[in-house]
């Protein structure tokens, strides 16, 4: 019996490339001279780290959209919540080095004349607690949201729209000063993480490597899920939801489980993003951001996992290049990408490549399996 193994060729390639990046980027940054063609400049390291955190976010979207058919237009919310949890830790680490030099209260609270730290900020000075919250807060929100949505069988575009409403509501909420998350400006001016200064080169390299490791771990987790029987049930739900239900599967439990896991991955991505970018603000909740993530996945190839990573990297590299070289054209390019991919390349880069590969193999009869040929299509 043919079983999809956890580590197939694709997985090996993805993991090797990530490992290579984790080694090569620091080496090229430290060992080569600034003028050299191979040199990776100091500002490029956190930029690449940011791409990796986006890739993890894309992976989380692919897990639910590609394998379970849940198109979330609000995954940016989970990403931002993870980011805020990390931002709160970094904020508390500033201590008396803020502008107002208050040992406990972050600057914006002093500015708002707050006397005490709000209860939900308690504990965030302790890294393990913050790290748990990075996963727990997005996970809990996804669980509650999903419990309501999936139980009442909200599907398709309706689900997409209410996820969008969710992130929109959160954006409005986080823009409010009274929420206690820094309002408009968000959280920024971070100094150090676990005692290491964020501006230093070595910290940035470590953060980059950690992003690569987290992405690899996230990838393996997703692989494990989609190659297990759970993953098969998810695909079954995607393709024929009521059939799955009549087979006795509680579809809502499956959706809820995978949605929650996906939200936690997104939260982790946000937590990696914040220290490398140095800021988190309510703009991260903007519905447009969440939709953009979906297009990364679509570009790379929905339902392939590796494609999500590829898509996130390609689109974001494109974005960096465009906003530098032709800023007015970026939105044209992005908009065009949405139309092009959905219309002409629905399987994305990786899916299209896989199809081409399968077709090429099918032409070589000696290598193809005896019943792989579609002869029975009457």
């Amino acid at each position: 019996m043919k079983t999809q193994s956890l580590l197939d060729r694709q997985a090996v390639i993805v993991l090797s490339l990530l490992g290579l990046a984790a080694v090569l980027v620091p080496v090229l940054n430290v060992m080569t001279a600034p003028g050299s063609a191979l040199h990776i400049s100091d500002h490029l390291v956190p930029l690449l780290g940011k791409y990796l955190s986006f890739a993890l976010l894309a992976l989380s979207v692919d897990l639910i959209w590609g394998f379970c058919g849940i198109l979330s237009l609000g995954h940016g919310a989970f990403f931002a919540l993870g980011g805020y949890a990390m931002g709160m830790y970094l904020m508390r680490q500033i201590g008396p080095r803020g502008v107002y030099a208050d040992p406990i209260l972050p600057d914006f609270m002093v500015f708002l004349n707050w006397k005490d730290l709000p209860w939900f900020w308690y504990g965030f000075d302790w890294f393990p607690y913050a790290a748990i919250m990075v996963l727990l807060v997005p996970g809990a929100l996804a669980f509650v949201f999903g419990w309501f949505a999936f139980r009442s069988r909200v599907t398709g575009v309706y689900l997409s729209i209410i996820t969008q409403a969710m992130t929109f509501a959160l954006m409005l909420a986080f823009f409010r000063n009274d929420m206690g998350f820094g309002g408009n400006n968000g959280l920024t001016d971070f100094k150090e993480i676990l005692g290491f200064p964020l501006q230093s080169e070595s910290t940035r390299i470590v953060l980059f490597v950690l992003s690569a490791v987290a992405l690899a771990a996230g990838y393996l987790l997703c692989r494990w899920i989609v190659t297990s029987k759970l993953g098969k049930v998810l695909v079954a739900v995607r393709d024929a939801e009521s059939r799955t239900r009549f087979l006795g599967y509680r579809v809502e439990h499956y959706k809820l489980a995978v949605f929650t896991v996906s939200a936690m991955l997104a939260g982790l991505a946000g937590a990696l993003y914040v220290p490398q970018v140095g800021i988190i603000n309510p703009g991260e909740f903007a519905p447009a951001n969440s939709i953009e993530v979906v297009i990364w996945v679509a570009v790379g190839g929905r339902g392939t996992l590796a494609g999500a990573i590829l898509g996130a990297l390609v689109v974001n590299a494109g974005k960096t290049w465009f906003t530098g070289a032709l800023p007015e054209f970026w939105l044209f390019a992005l908009g065009g990408l949405f139309v092009f991919v959905t219309l002409l390349m629905p399987r994305g880069i990786l899916g299209t490549a896989q199809d081409a590969w399968t077709r090429a193999r099918a032409r070589l009869p000696s290598r193809s399996a005896p019943n792989a040929l579609p002869h029975a299509a009457e």
Binding site: L71, F145, F148, A149, R151, S152, R153, V154, T155, G156, V157, Y158, S160, I161, I162, Q164, A165, M166, F168, A169, L172, A173, F175, R176, P287, A288, I291, V294, I295, A298, E328, L331, F332, L334, G335, G336, L337, F338, V339, V341, T342, L343, P346
Partner: protein, 530 residues
């Protein structure tokens, strides 16, 4: 014989009367202004105001504005134009005296001046001036104005002014200890019928020593006014809600058509609204340049154009993109999102990223006062317009063959197709119709919102909420959805604030969809299962 003496006496008497009139209280009082003492000034003011002399109003005004001047015991008025008048005669005065000094006033005098002004203009021939005067007295509660007030009330013919005068009298009577309880109760009743915030404030100033029945009546009247005010306030909020609901209805109704017929979520719908608004801008620019006289009609010219522009872009989008994506609603959603980015950026490239100025025709400015409600004409126009669009669409869908086909496709696409309806043609037309309606919504929204490339983005989520809440395939659902959301939003605002109110509403809708996944007015039965 009538003696010469008698005649003389009579003449002297006449002369004496004339002289008396000549040297009346006005003329007697004037020199006191020159004394440079506040109490003299106040006394003079009282006398002048009570004199009924034709120049008294000018003197009081001049005093208020620091244009009443004194030199060598003589009093002059400097007109706003700079001419110097003799205060006694009202004649222009030649070269200004050297030691001309303004008559000084302090706060006490200033209050007296305000009261005197009120009293003086109470008898003005201009109803507007009388109204202002009555309001001024109402605020100052100056007992000195009472006689003039009585006089004014007696001869007032204008109902509104009379009411204002009466409440001014009531305001004075209420605060005077020596007034009989009956008069005071009448005053309270009068204030109660006035029924605004100022009346409540006034009632609360009732002196502590008032008889119990008066105090009781006052507190009852205050409570009655308060509850009435709350009612009006709620009504005002409902009106704001209806007007917001109309805006939402305009923005969402086109979406409801496309979503209803094709199950397609058109994320570029907001951009159709934006394009409609920019069409209005272009039309107005052209009118300003070539036919300024037609500005009042600019919106009526823009309406069909916006419909055509947005509608043809809609058909174009349907023919080039959406028709290839039928049966894949999520992909359609992504593709139309991409289109929305392209449209936004196109408009930003052509018209620039900043807000463009869209003018409001004169007939849309001003407000309609209904009781304590203030209905601005542009809001009224939008409510009426939204209702017109709604009814028109309802009729189009009910009575035209296009409407019949659209409804058939909405209810059962496959069946409609097998009945010979060319569903893809209907799709294109329905999409064009929905987009065109969005375009005319843009014309309306250009009147109340900033016309910028982001205009559409700010409405798209709200429009979705309306459609999702109202349910698909039924325009009434869209109407109910839009109005419910609009009114709920505005009723929540006073308690929760604008942002929190909106958040509460979004959460409410998210929870609502759990209960009724297909909205308020969902299609039921077999058609849905297919």
């Amino acid at each position: 014989m009538i003696s010469l003496r008698n005649i003389l006496q009579a003449f002297v008497l006449l002369l004496g009367m004339a002289t008396c009139a000549y040297a009346g209280p006005y003329e007697d009082a004037l020199p006191k202004f020159a004394a440079d003492s506040y109490s003299d000034t106040e006394a003079a003011l009282g006398a002048v105001a009570g004199s009924g002399h034709p120049l008294s109003l000018s003197v009081v005004e001049a005093l208020r504005d620091g244009r009443l001047l004194a030199a060598n015991g003589q009093i002059f008025i400097r007109e706003p134009s700079g001419n110097l008048l003799n205060a006694v005669t009202g004649q222009a005065f030649g070269p200004a005296p050297q030691n001309l000094k303004a008559v000084r006033i302090n706060n006490r005098v200033r209050r007296a001046v305000e009261a005197a002004m009120g009293g003086l203009t109470l008898l003005s021939s201009d109803a507007g001036a009388r109204m202002d005067a009555a309001r001024a007295v109402f605020r100052s509660r100056d007992a000195a104005a009472l006689p003039t007030l009585q006089q004014a009330i007696a001869k007032e013919t204008h109902a509104d002014v009379k009411q204002a005068l009466e409440s001014a009298r009531a305001a004075i009577l209420l605060n005077q200890a020596d007034v009989s309880p009956t008069d005071r109760l009448a005053a309270i009743a009068s204030l109660r019928s006035r029924g605004d915030q100022e009346a409540v404030a006034l009632l609360s100033t009732l002196p502590a020593g008032a008889p119990p029945e008066v105090a009781e009546a006052a507190s009852q009247a205050a409570a009655a006014i308060r509850s009435r005010l709350e009612l009006w306030n709620a009504a005002q909020n409902v009106w704001y809600g209806i007007s917001l609901g109309s805006v939402l209805l305009l923005a969402a109704i086109g979406l409801a058509i496309t979503f209803g017929t094709m199950g397609v979520i058109n994320m570029a719908h907001g951009e159709m609204v934006m394009i409609g608004a920019y069409t209005t801008f272009v039309v107005q620019e052209l009118i300003r340049a070539y036919a300024p006289g037609m500005f009042g009609a600019s919106l009526f010219i823009a309406l069909p154009l916006a419909f055509l522009v947005a509608g043809s872009i809609g058909v174009l989008i349907e023919r080039t993109v959406i028709r290839f994506l039928y049966g894949r609603p999520l992909e359609t959603l992504l593709a139309t999102w991409g289109l929305s980015l392209i449209l936004q950026q196109t408009v930003r490239t052509i018209f620039g990223p900043t807000n463009r100025e869209v003018g409001t025709p004169a007939w849309m400015s001003g407000a309609l006062e209904v009781g304590s409600l203030s209905l601005t004409y542009n809001r009224v126009a939008i409510v009426v317009f939204a209702a017109t669009v709604f009814v028109t669409l309802l009729l189009v869908l009910r009575y035209t063959s296009l409407g019949l086909y659209v409804r058939a496709v909405t209810q059962n696409r496959r069946m409609a197709g097998s009945m010979g309806i060319r569903t893809n043609r209907i799709d294109a037309l329905a999409f064009g119709l929905g987009s065109g309606v969005a375009g005319i919504a843009g014309v309306a929204l250009s009147q109340i919102d900033n016309v910028s490339p982001n205009l559409g983005q700010s409405y798209i989520i709200d429009s979705f909420m309306v459609v999702v809440f109202g349910g698909v395939g039924n325009l009434w659902g869209t109407l109910v959805g839009a109005m419910t959301l609009g009114v709920a939003n505005k009723l929540l605002e006073p308690y929760a604030g604008a942002v929190l109110g909106k958040i509460v509403l979004l959460i409410a809708i998210i929870l609502f969809i759990q209960r009724r996944p297909r909205g308020l007015f969902a299609l039921k039965g077999r058609a849905v299962e297919a």
